[in-house]
C-alpha cells in the first residue's frame, strides 16, 4: 500500500471517528458541564473540558469536520473558478487573456492573510457564528483561485496549440465543443490543484481563528481552540489542551501526503 493511500485511509478513519463522537447522544459542542470547567480526562470527558466546561473531544471532532468540510467546499469552488477563468482566458482573443492574467497578478500581489483580515473586519458586528464560518470559507475560495487559474491558463494554452486541437478546430468544431474536450484533458492539472488547496485553506482558517478573526464562538474551530494555548491556567491544569494542535498537525501532514507529487 502506498504512503498516499495509507494517508487517505487514516484520514477517513479520523473523519469517521469524529462523526461517531458527534452523533453519540448528549454530545453537543456547545453543551456546558458547569460542575467541571478546566477538568482533566475522565470517563465522562475523555479529553477533559475547556474553560467553559465544554467537552474537548466533542469540540475537536466538530472543529475537524467543520474545517475539512469547509476547506473541501472552498477548494472545489476555487478550482472550478480557476478552471473556468483559465480555460476561457486561454481560448479567448489574446487581449482578454492578458486582462484576465493581469487580474490574477493583482490578486497575487496581495498577501492572503492581509486580504482575509480586511474582508473579515469589513463584516457587520452582528454576523452570526454560522455566517462567519460560511463567509470565512467563501472568502478563502474567492481569494484562492488566481494561482490555480495561472496554472490552468498555461495548461490550456498548451492544449490550444496541440495538434489534435488544431485539427479539431480545422474540422469545424464549435467553441463549446472544443471547450468540452479541453476540460477532461485539464483534469491531471486540476486534481492536484484541488488537493493542494485543502491543506492551505485548513491552515489559513487556523491562522485567522488564532488571531480572533475566524469562525465565531460557540462554533468550534481550529483557530479558536489554538487560543486556549494562551491560557496559562489551562496549560497547568491539563495536558489535553495540546490535543487540538496535535490533531491539526496530524491532519495537515496527512493532507500533505495525499496531495504530494509522486517522487
Amino acid at each position: 500500500m502506498t504512503a498516499k493511500r495509507m494517508a487517505a485511509w487514516f484520514l477517513l478513519a479520523l473523519i469517521v471517528a469524529a462523526a461517531i463522537v458527534l452523533v453519540l447522544p448528549g454530545h453537543s459542542y456547545s453543551q456546558q458541564d458547569r460542575e467541571a470547567p478546566l477538568a482533566g480526562a475522565s470517563a465522562q470527558h475523555p479529553a477533559g473540558t475547556d474553560a467553559l466546561g465544554r467537552d474537548r473531544l466533542v469540540r475537536v471532532s466538530a472543529a475537524m469536520l467543520l474545517s475539512l468540510a469547509g476547506s473541501v467546499i472552498a477548494s472545489a469552488i476555487t478550482t472550478a473558478a480557476a478552471a473556468g477563468i483559465g480555460t476561457l482566458a486561454a481560448f479567448s482573443p489574446a487581449g482578454v487573456g492578458s486582462v484576465a492574467m493581469l487580474l490574477c497578478d493583482a490578486f497575487l500581489a496581495l498577501p492572503w492573510l492581509f486580504l482575509l483580515m480586511m474582508v473579515r473586519s469589513a463584516l457587520p458586528l452582528t454576523t452570526s457564528p454560522l455566517h462567519s464560518a460560511a463567509i470565512t470559507f467563501l472568502v478563502l475560495a474567492a481569494l484562492g483561485w488566481p494561482a490555480c487559474a495561472r496554472a490552468v491558463y498555461r495548461g490550456a494554452q498548451d492544449l490550444r496549440r496541440a495538434e489534435w486541437m488544431l485539427q479539431a478546430r480545422a474540422t469545424g468544431l464549435r467553441r463549446r465543443q472544443v471547450l468540452r474536450s479541453v476540460v477532461p484533458n485539464l483534469m491531471p492539472l486540476l486534481l492536484p490543484q484541488f488537493l493542494l488547496c485543502i491543506p492551505a485553506f485548513v491552515m489559513a482558517e487556523a491562522n485567522l481563528g488564532a488571531l480572533g478573526l475566524g469562525i465565531g464562538e460557540p462554533l468550534p474551530s481550529w483557530g479558536g481552540m489554538l487560543l486556549e494555548l494562551d491560557n496559562s491556567a489551562m496549560l497547568l491544569s491539563t495536558r489535553w489542551v495540546y490535543l487540538p494542535i496535535a490533531l491539526l498537525i496530524l491532519i495537515l501532514l496527512l493532507l500533505e501526503a495525499i496531495s504530494a507529487e509522486p517522487a
Binding site: 496581495l110 492581509f114 473586519s121 469589513a122 458586528l125 494555548l229 494562551d230 496549560l235 498537525i249 501532514l253
Partner: protein, 285 residues
C-alpha cells in the same frame, strides 16, 4: 531599444496591477456590509460621537468616483487618511513600525536562505531525497504560524526571528532541493562531473548561473510568505510592527489603516515580482 521598451512595458504592467489593487480594495471596503459600523458603537460612552462621525463618512463616501479619485490622489501624496480608532494620520502610525517590520523580515529572509541553501546543497547531493532534511521541513510546514509562535512562547525559547526563519527556511528548502536535484542531473553537469570538475567549481560555473532565475522567483516567494506570516508572529510576540498594527486595525474595524497596509504590501510584492521576472526576461530579449 527593445530592452528599454521591455522595461517600460513591465513598469506599465506593474502600475496597472497597483491601480487594480487600489481600486479593488477601495471598492471592497466601501461596499462591505460593515463599512459604516465601528466597534466603539457598542460602548455607550462613545456611541453618539461615533454615529455622528459615521454619518459624516457616509455622506462623504456616497459617490464612488470622487471617493476613488481622492483616495488615489491622497496615496500618491503620501496621505493615507486618518485612523478611525486613534484619530491620527495613518502615516504617523505606519512610519515607526515600518523599520521594525522591514528589519525583522530582512533578517529572517537572509537567515532562511542561508539555512535552506546549505541544507538543500547537502540534501541534493544524495541520489534519493534524504529523510533527515525532508521530515523536519514537512513538519515545520504543517504547523500553523500562530501555533508555532505560541509554542515557542510557551517553551520560553526562540522569538519572532526564529519562527519566521524556520517557516521560510522550510518552504525555501523544499523548493531549492527540488531545483538543485533537477539541475545536478542535467547532462552537461553529469559530463562535467565525469570530466573531474570539483563540486565548488561546478556550483560556481554551472549550477548557480542555471538556477539564477529560479532563485529570483524564490526570493519573491520568500517575501510573500514572510509578509503573510508577519501578522501572527508580530501579534503573538508583541512586536510593534505593521502586522500587529494591521491585526489591531482588523479587530477594531479601522479600515483606513488596513487599506494603507494592504497597499504597502501590494507595492512590495509587485516590485519584487517585477525585478525577479524582469531581469530574466531582459536576458532573453
Amino acid at each position: 531599444m527593445s530592452l528599454a521598451l521591455h522595461g517600460l512595458q513591465r513598469l506599465l504592467r506593474t502600475f496597472a496591477i497597483l491601480l487594480i489593487v487600489a481600486v479593488g480594495s477601495t471598492v471592497l471596503v466601501r461596499y462591505a456590509p460593515g463599512y459604516l459600523s465601528d466597534a466603539r458603537e457598542m460602548d455607550a460612552r462613545y456611541a453618539g460621537t461615533v454615529r455622528t462621525e459615521l454619518a459624516a463618512e457616509a455622506e462623504r463616501s456616497q459617490a464612488l468616483g470622487p471617493l476613488l479619485a481622492s483616495q488615489i490622489r491622497g496615496w500618491m501624496h503620501g496621505d493615507f487618511g486618518v485612523s478611525r480608532q486613534y484619530g491620527v494620520p495613518v502615516l504617523e502610525l505606519i512610519e515607526p513600525r515600518l523599520a521594525n517590520t522591514g528589519i525583522l523580515l530582512l533578517q529572517a529572509i537572509g537567515l532562511a536562505w542561508l539555512l535552506a541553501g546549505s541544507t538543500a546543497l547537502l540534501s541534493s547531493a544524495r541520489k534519493r531525497p534524504s529523510l533527515l532534511w525532508q521530515i523536519p521541513a514537512t513538519l515545520l510546514l504543517a504547523i500553523p504560524t500562530a501555533a508555532m509562535a505560541t509554542l515557542c512562547l510557551l517553551a520560553n525559547s526562540g522569538g519572532p526571528l526564529l519562527v519566521l526563519t524556520l517557516l521560510l527556511a522550510a518552504r525555501d528548502f523544499k523548493l531549492l532541493d527540488r531545483i538543485l536535484r533537477k539541475t545536478w542531473r542535467d547532462p552537461h553537469l553529469l559530463h562535467a562531473r565525469a570530466q573531474g570538475l570539483g563540486p565548488l567549481a561546478m556550483l560556481r560555473a554551472h549550477v548557480i548561473p542555471s538556477i539564477a532565475s529560479d532563485l529570483r522567483t524564490l526570493a519573491t516567494l520568500s517575501i510573500v510568505t514572510g509578509l503573510s506570516a508577519l501578522v501572527p508572529v508580530e501579534v503573538i510576540f508583541s512586536v510593534p510592527g505593521l502586522g500587529q498594527l494591521a491585526w489591531n486595525a482588523a479587530l477594531n474595524r479601522d479600515l483606513p489603516i488596513l487599506l494603507a497596509i494592504t497597499m504597502i504590501m501590494a507595492v512590495c510584492v509587485t516590485f519584487a515580482g517585477m525585478l525577479s521576472e524582469g531581469e530574466a526576461e531582459w536576458k532573453a530579449v
